[in-house]
């Protein structure tokens, strides 16, 4: 079929001549299909990612109140377990600083001389799992007893010192099992009359810490799920709002990945800012509490201060929340974008 000569329509400007020669009008049989090289495609793929990242930020701040509220919901959900975790860490630090660390009291036989007792203390000091040994002679013990308990009068009635020499052991390992093993070894010694290990306190502390840890882990898992659901819902609304755009993009050959991308970045954005806000909430809470805590600890004669959420919390919260946001966005697009097809 013979083609009519190429004729310019009146509204077409002069420049179109150049464009027309580009598409080679002398070859009416084949239209030139666009081809894009691999390198270009890679650059463009990266470029699109960068554009979408910037675009998602722009969209986030274009509706500051709506975005801020979503981020705040995420922040509150994440601040709760983070604060609990931080509180737990602070509690552990506080009890670690106390003098009430596991301690083993070793009562020696009454007939042991001071020299032998000292020598025994030295051999114990040489052992690997013993951090510190304090020797308390019967006389020192009596003095301490009289002062502390106010029983001086009762003791004064006795004609000899009824108290044995005591070795106070501070073990290196505070695990309940190794403490028990150490106590057992000490009992076997011929010099030792009795060994008292305050296990109940150690065990209670360990159980309490474990309870707190599990509680915060459970809460964290539950609230992480909450964050994902919040993002799913938010992104679902975004998808509905941009339905037209998705349709057009699909009609001009946009792949699902292309259409998905801006929403995934939006989810990432919500998560990131939610995490950042969560960190701020925790930091503010710590700042507010640190004054009273310092006051309280000074009345106990301790220099203990509350530790704030450091950069590790910042990193963990922002990255973790961003991943949760991404997960939520992914769930939302997986469900809704396939459903939007041209009809």
């Amino acid at each position: 079929m013979k083609q009519p000569p190429y004729k310019k329509s009146p509204q077409i400007s002069r420049k179109s001549q150049r464009v027309a020669t580009e598409v080679k009008p002398q070859r009416p049989t084949g239209a030139v299909t666009a081809r894009t090289g691999m390198g270009d495609r890679w650059h463009s793929w990266l470029g699109h990612h960068r554009e979408m990242a910037v675009e998602s930020l722009r969209r986030f701040f274009a509706t500051p109140i709506a975005s801020g509220m979503t981020a705040l919901v995420i922040a509150i959900a994440l601040a709760l377990p983070a604060a609990l975790q931080l509180g737990l860490a602070n509690f552990q630090r506080a009890v670690a600083g106390w003098d009430g660390q596991p301690q083993i009291s070793v009562f020696l036989h009454m007939d042991i001389t001071e020299d032998r007792a000292e020598a025994f203390a030295d051999t114990l000091r040489a052992e690997l799992d013993v951090a510190e040994v304090t020797y308390i002679s019967p006389e020192e013990a009596l003095l301490e007893f009289q002062q502390a308990a106010g029983l001086g009068d009762a003791l004064a009635g006795l004609d000899s010192n009824p108290l044995p020499a005591v070795l106070l052991l501070r073990p290196r390992d505070t695990e309940a099992e190794s403490l028990e093993a150490l106590a057992e070894r000490l009992r076997e010694s011929a010099l030792v009359d009795a060994v008292v290990l305050d296990m109940a306190w150690v065990q209670r502390l360990a159980r309490l810490t474990e309870l707190g840890r599990r509680l915060s882990a459970g809460l964290a898992a539950l609230l992480a799920l909450g964050v994902v659901l919040v993002v799913v819902n938010t992104i679902r609304l975004h998808i509905e709002n941009r339905r037209e755009e998705i349709l057009v993009a699909k009609l001009v050959g946009g792949t699902d990945a292309f259409v998905r991308r801006p929403f995934l970045y939006s989810g990432l954005c919500y998560g990131f800012f939610g995490g950042l806000l969560a960190w701020l909430l925790v930091a503010v809470a710590v700042a507010l509490l640190s004054g009273p805590v310092a006051g309280l600890s000074s009345t106990y004669g301790s220099g203990y201060t509350l530790q704030g959420p450091g950069y590790r919390y910042l990193l963990g919260l922002t990255v973790g929340a961003a991943l949760l946001g991404l997960t939520g966005a992914w769930l939302a697009v997986a469900r809704h974008i396939q459903a939007i097809e041209p009809r």
């Binding site: 190429y6 077409i12 464009v19 598409v23 070859r27 299909t33």
Partner: protein, 228 residues
């Protein structure tokens, strides 16, 4: 370029939109598709653009059998087509330039190349001076030309238009048609669905007429035939 072989389409509602339609459009042809509304024009275009799949028969476009097209391949197939819609489907949240750039972004075109091609396409439809405007402020004819620029920006082998002059006055319609003829003149295969019989007759091109889902006419009509 486009081959329909005994194609039938029955929608889930039980409506037979196309029945045993066979046709062949050569590379570089310009063909009009006409018929009353409900005759099957839209269905034929939907099959051609892989929006719908045929119930029976096979469709070959640029050597590709659409029946064998997997879902994931559809986007890549559509990049070879330029599609112009009656309601132009422009996005009003971005400029004319960005609207036209969309197919290139989708295909992964470099930024420099993108600007050059978008401007070339806008220049072809005579709207280069409006690239920064929002399409919402343009007239109906201008909007349709932006839609055409978007359809051709990727230099597709095939241009498909669904009632591109539907809402335009005769003067603008003629201009739009001339634009399609211009693209055809540089080798693009053009298929235009339209019910503007008078305008079609004036173009003196091959016409396919559908009626109740069947192809009842295929040929180049004389002016007198169109007037009937």
């Amino acid at each position: 370029m486009i081959t329909f072989d005994n194609v039938s389409k029955r929608y889930e509602s039980g409506q037979d939109a196309l029945m045993r339609v066979s046709l062949e459009i050569e590379r570089g042809d310009m063909v009009f598709l006409t018929g009353h509304s409900g005759a099957g024009k839209s269905t034929l275009l939907k099959l051609l653009t892989a929006i719908e799949r045929p119930t029976r028969g096979s469709i070959l476009v640029a050597g590709q059998n659409l029946n064998r097209l997997r879902r994931g391949q559809i986007p890549y197939f559509r990049r070879n087509l330029g599609i112009v819609f009656q309601n132009h489907q422009l996005l009003f949240d971005r400029s004319v330039f960005d609207n036209v750039a969309l197919p290139l972004q989708v295909a992964g075109c470099s930024r420099r190349e993108l600007g050059r091609r978008v401007r070339a396409a806008l220049d072809k439809v005579g709207l280069l001076h409006k690239e920064k405007q929002n399409p919402i402020v343009l007239s109906g004819g201008e909007q349709q030309r932006v839609g055409i620029a978007r359809a051709v920006v990727n230099k597709p082998a095939i241009l498909v238009a669904d009632e591109p002059t539907g809402n335009l006055d005769p003067q603008l319609s003629a201009e739009i048609m001339q634009l399609f003829a211009d693209f055809n003149a540089v080798g693009v295969t053009v298929l235009v669905a339209s019910h503007d019989l008078e305008l079609i007759a004036r173009m003196k091109r091959r016409v396919l007429t559908l009626q109740a889902g069947q192809l009842i006419y295929d040929g180049v009509p004389s002016r007198e035939a169109a007037a009937l």
